[in-house]
Amino acid sequence: MKFRHMYQNKMKNKKDSLIIVLLILFTTGVFFVSILTGRYSITPGQMFQLIAKRISGTQISKSINSNMETILFQVRLPRVLSAMLIGAGLSASGAAYQGMFRNPMISPDILGVSSGAGFGASIAILMSFGSLGIEMTAFLFGILAVGLSYFISKAVSRGNTTMLVLVLIGMVVSSLFQSMISITKYIADPYGKMPAITFWLMGGLSTITPDDVKILLIVIIAAIVPLMLIRWKINVLSFGEEEAMALGIHISRIRSILILCSTIITAACVSASGMIGWVGLIVPHLARMIVGPDYKILLPVSCLMGGMYLLLVDTIARSVFPMEIPLGILTSIIGTPFFMYLLLKGKKGWN
């Protein structure tokens, strides 16, 4: 009896490891395709030579000029890495939120982080900040919006915050910041700043710099690690607050960690790339269909799939059409029908 059970568990672990290995291989493949794709063509041989030169300073053949080096290391690599980081980050925070809110229809911006960040960026553009200033303001306002949602719902429910109150207040705060975004557009100069705001809000990675990638990398990893550490508790949390309490979970502590980390991740992503919708909703959904609802495996698989998905979409956005399509628009165009398809196919992975 016991042996059979151990055996089956081992089988499941094996299957899960296989999925992770496959995802890593596939992502690596997409990574190389993406890095070689673009208006300025670079061959795999040239790429490896350039990388070898970077690492050990070996000589490179004459067919490679300095433009190639700049494009590879200053443009493509930051863009590819940021797409992967942002996809992974949005998916991780979406997955965490779906567990906490016990609802597979929740996306990471449910508490207002995206609208808050959007408003922050709009103000910063209005006040002619530089790109770092825009990012910082967006990040801070994203955090501020979620902070508002959190503390207002605490005040409304007098300490005993329920998830429903939190979602409702989140929607109110979101809508407040959305209308404030509209105000900034309304008063912005229609030939310079208004298009800049609109373009920022559409979301895209064309302006990513190597420094952005460094910041993203540090912030996202720092916030994903705590999420990974509490992922068993997210499982328990998805059974509802009272049951989780009866199982010994310090609800308010876990919830604060979860909201704080998810918010930091999403705010960092949105402030680097603008609003990129649907990734944080669909990817955890897909991951759940493949590996089941256990966050032990669901969270890492969501990260991997999210990174791969956004990298794929961003590569399409910048190379398939004669003109680059804003990434945020493309994720919605791909995401919505795909989501409909999932719904039509039957609700697998949730109830």
Binding site: H5, L229, A246, I249, D294, G349
Partner: protein, 263 residues
């Protein structure tokens, strides 16, 4: 392990409104206390207070002499297991994974269940005779099976006291009796149980003590034969009943309650 849960003159309710007043009760190892009373009388509120979901308004609740408000969530969960009414969570976990969640209070902060935790969960499933459900999807099994799984999860906490919210609700006749049988077996092995029920017969079948809650906030507690009487049930539920004795075997008498409709 000797363990006593003691409720002293507790007043329970939400915010400033009190629902249950002046309730006093004691549960020790091996005792089954059945909580009877009409809908809306505050049984759930009382349970939520016992489990520490809401604070007691007046009076105190002591576990081994120490106020439950002073226990950490984790250590409380090692002592008191909660069996909620069977429900459907949003995500399709495997039955074994659901049961392993009972190990949560025994698992350290950032870690995951160990092999030993999985074994404890598998044992709980075996104890309830539902090992074959192990790899089924929790959201796809029947209500009766889900109730047993939730009991298995609470046993996996290895608590000394089980708090069961209408463990027989939504179950067919056979499953109701099977759950009561399990409750009986557990108490024989030293588990203290507090459960709610809508059926006085369930109290006769397995409880050692009965607490009868009434609409007028009057609260009676005592031996099952003292409390579940024709008069008391009439007062609490407003219906007429007859209590009859049935001889089972040589010298065992089982009481049961028969409702009588008005002519």
């Amino acid at each position: 392990m000797e363990l006593i849960l003691e409720v002293k003159h507790a007043v329970c309710g939400y915010g400033k409104k009190s629902v249950v007043e002046n309730i006093s009760l004691k549960v020790a190892n091996g005792e089954v206390v059945c909580l009877l009373g009409p809908n809306g009388v505050g049984k759930t509120t009382f349970f939520k207070t016992l489990l520490g979901f809401i604070k007691v308004q007046k009076g105190e609740i002591l576990l081994n002499g120490k106020n439950i408000a002073d226990w950490s969530r984790k250590s409380l969960a090692k002592m008191i297991g909660y069996v909620p009414q069977a429900h459907t969570p949003p995500f399709p976990f495997r039955v074994l994974d659901v049961v392993i969640m009972g190990r949560t209070p025994h698992i350290d902060g950032g870690s995951y269940p160990s092999r030993k935790d999985i074994e404890v969960a598998a044992e709980a499933l075996e104890r309830l005779g539902i090992s074959d459900l192990k790899d089924k999807i929790y959201t796809e099994i029947s209500g009766g099976e889900r109730q047993l799984v939730l009991i298995a999860r609470a046993l996996t906490q290895q608590p000394a006291i089980l708090i069961m919210d209408e463990p027989t609700s939504n179950l067919d006749f056979g499953n109701q009796i099977r759950v009561l049988q399990h409750i009986n077996d557990l108490s024989k092995n030293g588990m203290g149980v507090i459960m709610t029920s809508h059926f006085p017969n369930h109290a006769f079948l397995c409880s050692t003590k009965v607490a009868l809650m009434q609409k007028n906030k009057c609260f009676k507690v005592g031996d099952v034969n003292e409390i579940v009487t024709e008069d008391n049930l009439k007062e609490a539920y407003g219906i007429s009943v007859k209590i009859i004795d049935t001889k089972i075997g040589k010298n065992k008498i089982l009481k049961s309650c028969i409702p009588i409709l008005e002519e």
